[in-house]
C-alpha cells in the first residue's frame, strides 16, 4: 500500500524530471542561439545580395598592388595572401621583440620597486604609476608624432649614440651583422655544437642522477656549445658574419639595419607600457614568496644564490607566469594599434586589402582568426606549462 504512495522513478512527469529539464533547457538555449546566428547570417546574405557581392576568398590570389615598406621581401605585384602574410610576420616581429624588451624593463623596474634604496624605489614607483594610467594610444602618438617625427633631427644631423646608433626623423639606424658566403660553413659548426651540447647535457644529467649529486648540467652544455661555436668561427675561412655599420651617404644612411619610425615608436610604446604592468607582476611574484620560506631555506644552510635558485624563483615563477602570459597576449593584441601610426602589421595590411578589394567579411574573419590563433597557441602553451608547474595540492 505504501509502495504506491512512494513516487518511484518510473512515474516522474517529464516536466519535473531534472534530467529531462536539463536536456530541454540546453536544446532551447541552443535553438535561441542558432536562431540569432541564422538571423544575422540571413541579413548578411540579403545585404550582400542587394549590394551585388558574394563571399569567397579567391581575391586573395589577386595582385595586392600596394606597397609595404618593411618586413619580408615583398613586391606590390605579389598576391594579397602573401601581403597578409607579410603583415602577420611584422606583427610577430614587433610582438616578439616588444615582449623581450618589456620583460627586461619589467624585471628591472619590478626589482627596483623592492630596492632598499629609497630613491630607486620611488623612481620605479613613479614610472609604473605614470605609465599605467595614460592610454597606450596617447603614448604611441607621443612616441610617433612627438618624439620620432618632431623631436628627432633630420637625417643630416642625426643623434649619435655610442656604438654607431643613429637616431633620425627617418628612423633608427643600428649596426647589424649580415651573413657572408662562409656563413653556411659556420652554421655547420653551430648545429654540430648544439647537438653535442644536448648530448653532454643528457649524459651529465644521468650521471649526476646516478651519483645522486647536485650540479649544473646546463652550464656544462652551454660551455660545450660556446667552445665549439667559437672554434668554428676561427676554423672557417673568412668571417661568417660581417658587421655593417650605418654610414651617412649624401641623403641617407647605407649599411646597418634600418628600423622605421613607426616600428621604433610602436616598439618603444608597447614595451614601455607593458613593462610597467610586468613590473607590478614581478613585484607581486617576489612578494608572494613568504618570508618564512626564505628563512627556512637559509636555516637549512643554503647559500644566497641557492636560496634564490631553489626556493624563491620556482615559487615566484608559479605566481608570475600566468599573469605574465596574459600581458604578453595583451602586448600582441595592442600591437594592432600599429595601424594608427602606419606600421604594416596584420591589422594594417588587412584593412588595406579591404580598402582595395571591398571584402569586409572575409578580411575581418581573417584578421580575427589570426589574432585568435596567436592567443589560442599561447594559452595552450600556458596551460601545458601550468600543469607541469602546479604544486601538488590537496
Amino acid at each position: 500500500m505504501l509502495s504506491e504512495k512512494i513516487t518511484s522513478s518510473h512515474s516522474i512527469p517529464f516536466w519535473r524530471d531534472i534530467r529531462v529539464l536539463r536536456v530541454i533547457g540546453q536544446v532551447l538555449f541552443l535553438l535561441i542561439i542558432a536562431a540569432g546566428i541564422w538571423w544575422l547570417l540571413n541579413n548578411l546574405q540579403m545585404n550582400l545580395k542587394t549590394a551585388g557581392l558574394n563571399i569567397g576568398f579567391r581575391f586573395l590570389k589577386n595582385t595586392a598592388g600596394f606597397p609595404i615598406s618593411e618586413g619580408l621581401r615583398y613586391n606590390p605585384t605579389d598576391v594579397n595572401a602573401y601581403a597578409f602574410w607579410v603583415g602577420i610576420v611584422n606583427t610577430i616581429r614587433v610582438a616578439v621583440i616588444g615582449i623581450v624588451l618589456a620583460t627586461v624593463i619589467g624585471i628591472v623596474v619590478g626589482v627596483a620597486r623592492l630596492s632598499s634604496n629609497w630613491l630607486v624605489k620611488k623612481l620605479a614607483g613613479i614610472y609604473v604609476e605614470v605609465i599605467r594610467n595614460i592610454p597606450l594610444l596617447v603614448q604611441l602618438f607621443f612616441w610617433y608624432f612627438a618624439v620620432m617625427l618632431t623631436a628627432l633631427p633630420l637625417v643630416g644631423d642625426s643623434i649619435r649614440l655610442p656604438g654607431s646608433i643613429h637616431l633620425t626623423r627617418r628612423g633608427v639606424y643600428i649596426p647589424w651583422a649580415t651573413a657572408t658566403e662562409s656563413f653556411s660553413t659556420w652554421m655547420f659548426y653551430v648545429i654540430g655544437g648544439l647537438a653535442l651540447a644536448i648530448i653532454v647535457y643528457v649524459l651529465r644529467r644521468t650521471q649526476l642522477k646516478r651519483a645522486e649529486r647536485p650540479g649544473f648540467p646546463i652550464a656544462w652544455a652551454g660551455m660545450v656549445f660556446i667552445l665549439i661555436a667559437f672554434a668554428g668561427w676561427f676554423l672557417t675561412s673568412g668571417n661568417p658574419l660581417a658587421l655593417t655599420v650605418p654610414v651617412l651617404k649624401k641623403f641617407n644612411f647605407t649599411g646597418g639595419l634600418w628600423l622605421s619610425t613607426s616600428f621604433t615608436a610602436l616598439l618603444m610604446g608597447l614595451s614601455v607600457y607593458t613593462g610597467a604592468f610586468i613590473a607590478e607582476i614581478v613585484r607581486a611574484g617576489i612578494l608572494a614568496v613568504s618570508k618564512g620560506q626564505i628563512e627556512a631555506a637559509k636555516a637549512v644552510g643554503l647559500k644566497r644564490a641557492q636560496v634564490l635558485r631553489l626556493v624563491v624563483m620556482p615559487q615566484a615563477l608559479r605566481v608570475i607566469i600566468p599573469p605574465l602570459t596574459s600581458q604578453y597576449l595583451n602586448l600582441t593584441k595592442n600591437s594592432s594599434l600599429a595601424i594608427l601610426i602606419g606600421y604594416y602589421d596584420l591589422m594594417n595590411v588587412g584593412t588595406t586589402i579591404f580598402n582595395q578589394t571591398g571584402r569586409a567579411v572575409e578580411m575581418i574573419l581573417l584578421i580575427m582568426a589570426s589574432y585568435l590563433t596567436m592567443s589560442l597557441l599561447t594559452s595552450l602553451l600556458m596551460n601545458y606549462y601550468n600543469r607541469r608547474m602546479k604544486l601538488v595540492e590537496r
Binding site: L2, I6, S9, R16, D17, I18, R19, L21
Partner: protein, 250 residues
C-alpha cells in the same frame, strides 16, 4: 504523504555512490524511525558525511533507493524541493551567509521558500534565536560572532523551516574546545524535544548520552549498528573495536 510509523522516516535500500572510480558508498541499508537520534561515527573518508548528504540530495546516489518521509529521492524536482523543506542541515563550517545579518540568515528561508510575511518570518527567527540562546546577536553579522555562536545560528537557521529531520555533519569539529559544549547543549535540547536527528560526530560523550542508536561506518560500508550501551561495551565487529580503542584510549 503520511508515513506509517513501522516503515520508518528514512529508509536506505542498498544505496551506492561513486566519485569517478571511487566507490564511496557501498550498499548502505538502514531504516530510521521518527523521533530517533542516530549518531554516525567512523574514520575520516569512511563515507559517513557522503551518506547523510545524500539524504537531502546535496550528493546524488547512483544506485539503490532512499526514501525520506515517504518520498523517494529521484530526479523529480518536486520531490527534492519537498525533502529539502523537511530536512534541516547543519554543517561543519557553519556556512552562514556572511553578507546577511544573523536575523536575516534565519528568516531568509521562511520568507522566500515558505512565502511567509516578513514580520512573521522575523518573529519566528527571534524565537529560534532565543531557543538557541543568542537573541541579543540578531543584528550582528556572522563574522562578528564566535564559532559556537555561529553554529547555534546555523541550527536556528535550519530549524526555521520547521523540519521533520535534522542532519548534523560534524557540527563541532571546527570549533575551539571551549565552545563545543554550548553547541552540544543546544543539540541535546533538540533531541529531547523529540526531533528526528542524524548526527555525524566524534563526540562520544554526546553519542552515549543522547543517541538511540550508533552507526559505525568504514570503507563506505555500514559496519555496525547498535545501541550506545552495546556499542561501547560490547562492540561486535573487530573494526569497531579498533576504532573505539583509537579514539577512547586517550
Amino acid at each position: 504523504m503520511s508515513v506509517t510509523s513501522n516503515e520508518g522516516i528514512i529508509i536506505y535500500r542498498d544505496v551506492h555512490k561513486w566519485y569517478g572510480d571511487f566507490h564511496a558508498l557501498r550498499g548502505i541499508t538502514f531504516t530510521m524511525q521518527k523521533g530517533e537520534v542516530i549518531v554516525i561515527c567512523g574514520p575520516s573518508g569512511s563515507g559517513k558525511s557522503t551518506c547523510i548528504r545524500t539524504i537531502n540530495r546535496l550528493e546524488e546516489h547512483q544506485r539503490g533507493q532512499i526514501i525520506v518521509d515517504g518520498v523517494e529521492l529521484t530526479n523529480d524536482l518536486r520531490n527534492i524541493d519537498t525533502i529539502r523543506r523537511e530536512v534541516g542541515m547543519v554543517f561543519q563550517q557553519f556556512n552562514l551567509f556572511p553578507h546577511l545579518r544573523v536575523l536575516q540568515n534565519v528568516a531568509l528561508a521562511p520568507f522566500w521558500v515558505l512565502k511567509m510575511k516578513k514580520s512573521k518570518a522575523e518573529e519566528i527567527a527571534i524565537q529560534l534565536l532565543e531557543r538557541v540562546g543568542i537573541p541579543e546577536q540578531a543584528q550582528k553579522y556572522p563574522a562578528q560572532l564566535s564559532g559556537g555562536q555561529q553554529q547555534r545560528v546555523a541550527i536556528a537557521r535550519a530549524l526555521a523551516m520547521t523540519p521533520k529531520i535534522m542532519l548534523f555533519d560534524e557540527p563541532t569539529s571546527a570549533l575551539d574546545p571551549e565552545m563545543i559544549k554550548e553547541v552540544l547543549d543546544v543539540m541535546k535540547e533538540l533531541a529531547r524535544s523529540g526531533m528526528t536527528m542524524i548526527v555525524v560526530t566524534h563526540e562520544m560523550g554526546f553519542a552515549r548520552e543522547v543517541a538511540n542508536r550508533i552507526v559505525f561506518f568504514d570503507f563506505g560500508q555500514l559496519i555496525e549498528e547498535n545501541t550506545p550501551e552495546e556499542f561501547f561495551h560490547n562492540p561486535q565487529h573487530e573494526r569497531t573495536k579498533l576504532f573505539l580503542s583509537q579514539i577512547l584510549d586517550y
